[in-house]
């Protein structure tokens, strides 16, 4: 008799689990407020992006046009597909010593997969992921960007 019992419990548990699934989809069907699809081109002004959305890498500059990048190339080494190229220069400190500093932070947006590894690798939190996403341009060369502003320099006290 064991197999008949198993057969019947199989049928009932199958029906029960299928009804459970139908209950959930039925709930979604009747509750349109659950829909989180953004009506993108129409709601451009009120668009809300999730906090963790990753659009592109930008460098943080403060009001004195100073950044926190020491030119250590940790981000360049962390990048899996050579998106970042750091060009360094040597500054002369007031004591007359030579010190390595950032000259140009080259960022190839066309190669970037938004994996966030460079941001995690950065020891001074100089770069972050921005929420911009309208990246289409007519020429590929426009996707190669310099992230440090012209004339910017490293903030005092960051080693």
């Amino acid at each position: 008799m064991g197999f008949i019992r198993k057969y019947i419990t199989d049928v009932f548990s199958a029906v029960k689990s299928l009804l459970k699934g139908m209950k959930l989809t039925g709930y979604y069907f009747t509750h349109h407020k659950e829909i989180i699809t953004q009506q993108y081109p129409d709601n451009k002004d009120t668009l809300v992006l999730p906090e963790r959305f990753r659009g592109e890498v930008v460098m943080i500059h403060d009001e004195n046009n100073e950044h926190a990048c020491t030119g250590c190339t940790a981000c360049e080494l962390a990048c899996p597909n050579a998106t970042i190229k750091i060009i360094t220069k040597f500054d002369i400190t007031p004591e007359g010593k030579k010190k390595k500093a950032l000259d140009t932070f080259v960022y190839h947006l066309e190669l970037c997969t938004m994996c966030n590894l460079c941001i995690e690798a950065c020891p001074t939190s100089a770069i972050k992921m921005a929420q911009t996403f309208e990246h289409s341009v007519f020429d590929r060369s426009q996707l190669t960007k310099k992230l440090n502003n012209p004339g910017s320099k490293i903030r005092e006290g960051i080693e």
Binding site: L18, M22, T25, Y28, E34, I35
Partner: protein, 359 residues
């Protein structure tokens, strides 16, 4: 009801036979019926595809088509226009005659199946005395069209999809037939109008106790499989066979397969509504005279289409909820579960019918 379809069809019939001689009148009636059916087909295609896309979107917490026309209403019209403009290619290695014939076979089967369906009180193309048998036998011809398409395409995916579809339809017809038989046993007639008349004092799903409810569930499962819809979409199997039997079809020939799929859903749901939910019969509860009178004021065509579209919605609900089955699981479900259960169920229903225990 003063404005029922019954009076319209009767007056057209009388006028034709009084004005012309009988053979010409019959010919004109044929043409009128053909025009009605083709109009119904195109309307059903547009409405059901739109409904499927909206239902699927809402069940998956999406918005669905909302760009073409108000609330996306004309999306399917635009899609149809696109399909008409596209070229209907015939592959080089295909069996050209069978390849071009197959979509029409599938379509003609769907059209023939419309004959015994009663759309409203007294509004039926052909009230034959074997109505349900006609439905059960003609609906299995569509598998020939699918096999023809799969074979003639000269494509391994098409052939695999077609063979699977053959195995599936042959299996599931058994339990669909037994579920239909359960109601036939209680009714004692195969004629559609008799089946509907027998539900005057209550639909079979309420009158027939548990056996009819079980038969109704088995019928729904079996017709979902027979119309090749997910979770039983072995014939198309997008994830394994690209598009199954209609991989090689394009343009209007593909559209005919697509349209036939949706019209078949309508037909099986109409038959389900006729057998279990009383066709065009309004909902009557026992001796509540007032309630029954109010229900009588709703036209019979609205009752019929309401029930049919409710069943179509349930089948769409199945599609967008359940995971797909493998071919072996599919045949297991039929031969190990549905068939034994429906046989026992038929026996129960027969006992109830003989003993007269139904209401």
């Amino acid at each position: 009801m003063g404005f029922g379809f019954e009076n319209i069809t009767a007056s057209i019939h009388n006028w034709l036979y009084n004005t012309f001689n009988p053979s010409i009148a019959l010919l004109i009636e044929f043409i009128l019926v053909a025009i009605c059916i083709i109009t119904l087909f195109s309307l059903l295609g547009l409405v059901l595809i739109m409904m499927e896309r909206k239902v699927s979107a809402w069940m998956q917490v999406r918005l669905g088509p909302n760009r073409v026309g108000p609330k996306g209403m004309f999306q399917t019209v635009a899609d149809t226009l696109k399909l008409i403009i596209k070229e209907g290619m015939t592959p080089d290695g295909a069996d050209k005659f069978l390849f071009n014939l197959a979509p029409f076979i599938v379509m003609i089967v769907a059209m023939v199946l419309m004959a015994p369906i009663m759309f409203a009180k007294g509004f039926q193309i052909w009230d034959i005395n074997i109505g349900i048998l006609f439905f059960a036998s003609v609906s299995s011809v569509s598998v020939i069209g699918i096999l023809m398409a799969g074979w003639a395409s000269n494509n391994k995916y098409s052939l695999l999809g077609a063979m699977r579809s053959g195995a599936q339809i042959v299996s599931y017809e058994l339990s669909a037939g037994l579920a239909i038989l359960t109601v036939i046993v209680l009714t004692g007639s195969l004629r559609i109008s008799d089946i509907i008349e027998s539900q005057q004092n209550g639909w079979w799903i309420f009158k027939g106790h548990i056996p009819v409810i079980i038969a109704f569930i088995i019928f729904l499962i079996a017709v979902t499989a027979e119309t090749n819809r997910a979770p039983f979409d072995m014939a198309e199997a997008e994830s394994e066979l690209t598009a199954g039997f209609h991989t090689e079809y394009s343009g209007m020939k593909f559209a005919l397969f697509f349209l036939a799929e949706y019209v078949n859903i309508f037909i099986v749901c109409a038959v389900g509504a006729t057998l279990f939910l009383g066709g065009w019969m309004p909902l009557h509860i026992g001796n509540w005279q007032g309630f029954n009178h109010v229900m009588d004021y709703i036209p019979s065509s609205i009752w019929f289409f309401g029930k049919t579209f409710f069943l179509i919605f349930v089948i769409m609900w199945f599609r967008w909820t359940f995971p797909r089955l493998r071919i072996d699981q599919l045949l297991n479900l039929e031969w190990k579960y549905l068939l034994p259960i429906s046989m026992v169920n038929l026996l129960l229903a027969t006992v109830i019918a003989i003993a007269g225990w139904h209401f």
